[in-house]
Subunit: 327 residues, 2 copies
DNA sequence: TTGTAGGCGTTATCAT
DNA sequence: ATGATAACGCCTACAA
């Protein structure tokens, strides 16, 4: 079955393809009479536009590419929701691709985005593709880096959190509530901004309070953190404060704490968490301080920024930090 | 800055565009000498293919469209991961669009997919677009319905769970562990297969055991279910069994149960849950029976099926049910 | 207001 | 093995 094209419609309606195109796109001038004829022809033939052809001609794509490290992450999903909900140009569509925490895969995706003429890219990088990204920027691709900074000469738009500040405030609050304790700092992802910035903030607060601490790497991973907990207990059998710099790690710690029901770890191992976890209110005896994050809000900002860029109102490179709150 | 095209490369390499195309696509016959010339020209000019033009010519798109009701749902994300991980044709790319539980939006998305010539559609429907979907099927669009059935003449591929069976087994197990109790059946989404099939299975088991029950509608929603719980307590102050037919509702119930710490609801309101929740092991005193779901596995099956369809090895309409397990 | 026709960048047929 | 060239379906000067 051959595809119905603008030509078929034109023939049926006894007008030219140009007129059909005008009707379809709602631009230019067409008499009501002709418009009617075209519209009925469209209905009769069941015509719909071929976006590929249209895009080729217009040198556009109406596609926004989004790169995330993984699909199974609530933070990222909230972020995407924020983008989606506030993106008003309805003709656009989102590619979403997962780099699977792999920098080669990330590069592949970006390359594919370039080949498909995407109008904009929203990138949550896994790191390591800086030079390639720079090349893309040079060709005027509209890229916004989100949550994780891309360290690049000349800069790149960035929207994310103030990790340093939030980790600092979290730690300060935590220390004021559990004085005279040993402290474990549970971090990870040091090669990414979300990793080292949080460490920086926490350490700053620890040093200000002259608080000694042990640093452990939980790799922003629930399982690893859960398995680390027994080591913490061995090292500090009388208890210690745990500062978890990511909610996934907090999840692992909480699971470990509740593994042995009879032992009451709640009071002995108070936790500070950068980020909330599910059922946080139920674990309020364990988690006595936490950073609330606003991924949805970040998504909204990303969306606004991208729309500005698409409209050409974005000459300067911009960095925007969304403020977290401490509970 | 003008785009570098195959023509520019041809000129630079002193060959025809046809030869360049052959090199780029690795088909046809080219001498090593010419291949080298073309490849260096490509590097020098920083050429990359224009997928839009290529697609127009080839009448393809290399795009798989996925429609989900919302991004913020772990089940869907696991499903997508399963699809992604097992989809081997690397030249393909996924559009993922959220219908936001809105049937008009779903239709819009499907229409856009059609206009973009997507090669296949994976649809988690919200219901109500049956006739439009049928129209798409008539034009030979490759659509696989997932998790939620699309009731359509002539049938449509479906991959999902055996909701009736799983709900039946869950209920049977639950009743055998809490005999002589009152029971609340917490359901929802009755207009979708995931809603009414689970009710059907649960009711079957209840009737077999001659167990009376009260049906409440929690709309597969955590908040609503959390708010329903006090009503349950009022109605059954001495306790009752709660069969929650969806994990989001279970989440709400668990939250409500743990709201008042002093009241020990755990033993008085045992829960059966269709689907797991986070920290399930911590709540094992509350949730005494549950259905384990395999969204990732469903994704894998969807991916396999779609690849078969793309390869043309899929004449018959297929229904495949992935077996759940009961814990 | 309408129609003609060229071209977007690529692929693929058909000569050579 | 290679090149010339006609599409793919649409948009848009430009002319009428």
């Amino acid at each position: 079955m051959k595809r119905v094209t603008i030509k078929d419609v034109a023939k049926r309606a006894n007008v030219s393809t140009a007129t059909v195109s005008r009707v379809v796109n709602g631009i230019g001038t067409v008499t009501d009479d002709n418009r009617d004829k075209v519209q009925t022809a469209i209905k009769e033939l069941n015509y719909f536009v071929n976006t590929t052809a249209s895009n080729l001609k217009k040198n556009s794509s109406n596609v926004i590419g989004i790169v995330i490290p993984t699909f199974t992450n609530e933070y990222f999903m909230e972020l995407i929701k924020g983008i989606e909900d506030s993106f008003v140009y309805s003709e656009y569509v989102f590619y979403i691709a997962s780099s699977k925490d792999d920098l080669d895969k990330e590069k592949e995706i970006l390359q594919k985005f370039r080949e498909s003429n995407v109008e904009g890219v929203i990138l949550l990088t896994i790191g390591g593709n800086e030079s390639f990204i720079q090349e893309l920027l040079k060709m005027n691709m509209k890229i916004i880096s989100v949550e994780r900074r891309v360290e690049i000469d000349g800069g790149i738009d960035f929207i994310g959190e103030n990790n340093v500040e939030a980790a600092y405030e979290l730690t300060k609050k935590f220390l004021s509530e559990i004085p005279y304790r040993d402290v474990v700092l549970l971090g990870g992802y040091e090669e990414l901004s979300i990793g080292h910035e949080r460490i920086e903030g926490a350490v700053k607060a620890l040093q200000e309070k002259k608080q000694e601490y042990t640093y452990l790497n939980g790799h922003f991973n629930a399982k690893i953190s859960e398995e680390i907990f027994p080591d913490i207990v061995t090292r500090y059998p009388n208890g210690c404060g745990i500062i978890s710099l990511n909610n996934t790690m907090t999840e692992g710690v909480i699971r470990a704490i509740h593994r042995d029901e009879e032992k009451d770890y709640s009071s002995k191992y108070p936790v500070a968490s950068y980020g909330k976890i599910k059922f946080q209110s139920i674990f309020k005896n364990n988690i006595i301080a936490s950073v609330r994050q606003y991924p949805y809000q970040i998504g909204v900002e990303v969306s606004n920024r991208l729309q500005n860029k698409i409209d050409g109102n974005a000459s300067e490179t911009v960095t925007k930090l969304i403020r977290n709150t401490i509970d």
